[in-house]
């Protein structure tokens, strides 16, 4: 027996919708759960019901001792912005050099920079810990910024290099003959044209620096602790304070949601721009 084409089409459509809903639920479900839990009273936490009396008590508690959500958010913001501000100019300069100059050893250098990322962080963390302890940088934001740069800069170099490679050298030569120094050429011509790539790198850097957990866990104790590590503070001897974790989770997620809302389009355009000159 065979189905009439119209029914078959409807069935296929229904299956599509079901599949999409399933995928959406898998991705969005936990986020919705966190947001809902953040506003629940502790006794409602395990009730999956969406009908509850919303409260801001969790946030009030989280900002207080022993969680210090405010200070930790500030740490996270400073570490993330510090990573961005230092990484992007360095990565842009390095990307330009790798793209335009010839080195003895050739392509080995940019590849070597990338290869450093194949070493797992767990291996690097012990020497890094020793170095920071010797330098007196343990439990400082600077230590985290430096640690973040160790993986943000190499990837950013590669992201930006692709864009600079696509800029025809004509324009730079024209600018040089127009009277610009090499540095001025980079600032006036290369940076504006590689901006989509630099923006992509910035977003990437923001996301990974903001979400970074492992280095922050090992290299900080109290003063420079970031949100992500602070989250663990909600695992107390009296059990896990899920509602506090959720409140912190909301603060962690918030910038990501904003970011995806406003810059996603730019990011995607940045990723494809190099390929469709």
């Amino acid at each position: 027996m065979s189905w009439p084409p119209r029914a078959r089409r409807r069935l296929r459509r229904a299956l599509h919708v079901a599949a999409i809903l399933l995928v959406a639920a898998v991705f969005a479900g936990p986020i919705l759960w966190i947001i809902a839990t953040a506003f629940k009273a502790p006794r409602d936490v395990y009730a999956l019901s969406l009908l509850f009396e919303p409260t801001l008590d969790n946030f009030r508690l989280a900002f207080d001792s022993p969680y210090f959500l405010g200070r930790r958010t500030l740490n996270s913001v400073i570490v993330t912005l510090g990573t961005l501000v230092l990484s992007l100019p360095i990565a842009t300069a390095a990307a330009y050099a790798f793209s335009r100059f010839r080195f003895p050893g050739g392509a080995a250098w940019p590849l070597g920079v990338l290869a450093t990322q194949f070493v797992p962080a767990v291996i690097v963390i012990i020497p890094l810990f020793v170095v920071f302890r010797t330098a007196g940088l343990l439990d400082t934001r600077l230590a985290l910024i430096i640690a973040n740069m160790s993986f943000v800069v190499p990837y950013s170099i590669w992201m930006i290099k692709g864009f600079i490679d696509a800029i025809p050298p004509d324009m730079e030569e024209a600018a040089q003959l127009d009277g610009a120094s090499r540095l001025r050429v980079i600032w006036d011509v290369v940076v504006p044209m590689a901006l989509p790539g630099i923006a992509s790198a910035a977003i990437f850097a923001f996301v990974v620096a903001w979400n970074e957990f492992f280095y922050a866990l090992v290299l900080t104790r109290n003063e420079a602790t970031t949100l992500q590590v602070g989250l663990m503070g909600a695992r107390t001897e009296r059990g896990d304070a899920w509602e506090i974790m959720a409140a912190m989770g909301v603060v962690i997620i918030a910038p990501m949601l904003l970011l995806s809302r406003y810059v996603q389009r730019h990011f995607v355009r940045g990723l494809v721009a190099g390929s469709v000159r």
């Binding site: 024209a174 003959l177 127009d178 009277g179």
Partner: protein, 360 residues
């Protein structure tokens, strides 16, 4: 304004010699064209003058100053690139004004001069646009305006017209010639288009395989090509070249016997050159050569007759636009004796003829 002088300038890329040691002097205010097929070293020569390439040996002087170690930005030269090299993120006005901005010229002064330069190349109405909103000809004008906004000592133009369509090329050619005459700036112009070279240049340097084959005025290059390369490269359709021998003042090849002007001489192993317009089509038996029509082409202002000589070689003659003949018809061809060229077959050099000995 300045003189440009290259002494023993050479360029090697690894084991490949792009430019053999070269001496060249461009006079103050001169329009010099570097002409040659692609890969002949003409662009490399220009890029070394601009400072975008470093010579492997030799010395480059601009206005008497050795500039080998001077950065491009400090050479005070302006260059127009084949792909225009415009800044896509800047408006036309910002593009044109960039050389002034880099030099710290104030905004109001800059705006005034941008407008002046734009007027000169008829871009006044487009100052707010971006390069991608312009046609090829307009982009080329922006590049020109950017080059003339500060009066540089030397203009370098690298195939500036090759991305334009044929009609626009003719207009822009005239504009470039006019601008150069008006500004009187020493200009070096690279092209592979002989018409551009002939029409624009005070002097042409014909280049091939990293060497200058001949340096001279357009007339000299056309009327007295120094060697077979120049003879074959300049002129469209190219010069007819017939290998043969000179015996007692008579040029002989298979089925060809033509008396040469001047005193009788013997010289085996030569090539006779005659431009299509110096070959007249006559009745059979009335010319110097006998030939059979292979094809006729009406170009509009003339008819090009391709004819086969008895030896099998083909020659092209340019004749009156009213001339008609069927393929296979027998015709005679008469050589214009005052405009014949003879080259040595072995080294390709021109053999000076008696009436031009004093100039050779």
């Amino acid at each position: 304004m300045a003189q440009v002088r290259l002494s023993g300038v050479e360029k090697r890329f690894g084991g490949f010699t792009a430019l053999h040691p070269l001496d060249l002097e461009v006079a103050d205010g001169e329009f010099l064209v570097l002409l040659g097929p692609s890969g002949c070293g003409k662009t490399t020569t220009m890029r070394m003058i601009a400072g975008l390439e470093e010579p492997s040996a030799g010395e480059i002087r601009i206005g008497g100053r050795v500039v080998n170690d001077v950065l491009p930005k400090d050479r005070d030269v302006a260059m127009v690139f084949q792909n225009y090299g415009l800044y896509p993120h800047m408006t036309v006005a910002e593009n044109i004004g960039y050389p002034l901005k880099v030099r710290g010229v104030g905004r109001s002064e800059r705006e005034r001069r941008v407008r002046e330069a734009a007027e000169k190349v008829e871009l006044g109405a487009l100052l707010g646009r971006r390069p991608r909103e312009l046609s090829g000809g307009q982009r080329q004008r922006v590049a020109l305006a950017r080059a003339i906004i500060r009066t540089p000592t030397v203009f370098l133009l690298d195939e500036p017209l090759s991305n334009l369509d044929a009609k626009l090329r003719v207009t822009m050619r005239a504009e470039i010639k006019h601008l150069q005459g008006e500004l009187g700036v020493t200009t070096i112009y690279v092209t592979h288009d002989q018409i551009e070279a002939m029409t624009l240049a005070h002097r042409v340097a014909v280049m091939n395989a990293g060497r200058i084959m001949q340096l001279g005025t357009p007339e000299e290059i056309y009327d007295r090509p120094a060697n077979l390369f120049v003879a074959g490269f300049i002129g469209s359709p190219p010069m007819n070249l017939i290998p043969g021998d000179v015996v007692g003042g008579l040029f002989r090849a298979e089925g060809v016997a033509a008396r040469l002007p001047g005193a009788a001489f013997d010289r085996p192993g030569v090539v006779l050159g005659a431009r299509p317009e110096d070959l007249a089509v006559t009745a059979p038996g009335a010319g110097d050569l006998e030939a059979e029509v292979y094809a006729t082409e009406l170009t509009g202002e003339a008819v090009l007759v391709t004819a086969t000589l008895p030896g099998g070689a083909r020659v092209i003659a340019r004749t009156d636009r009213g001339w008609r003949a069927a393929d296979g018809a027998r015709v005679g061809l008469r050589l214009d004796r005052s405009r014949l060229h003879i080259f040595d077959r072995a080294d390709g050099r021109r053999i000076p003829q008696s009436q031009e000995v004093e100039t050779a």
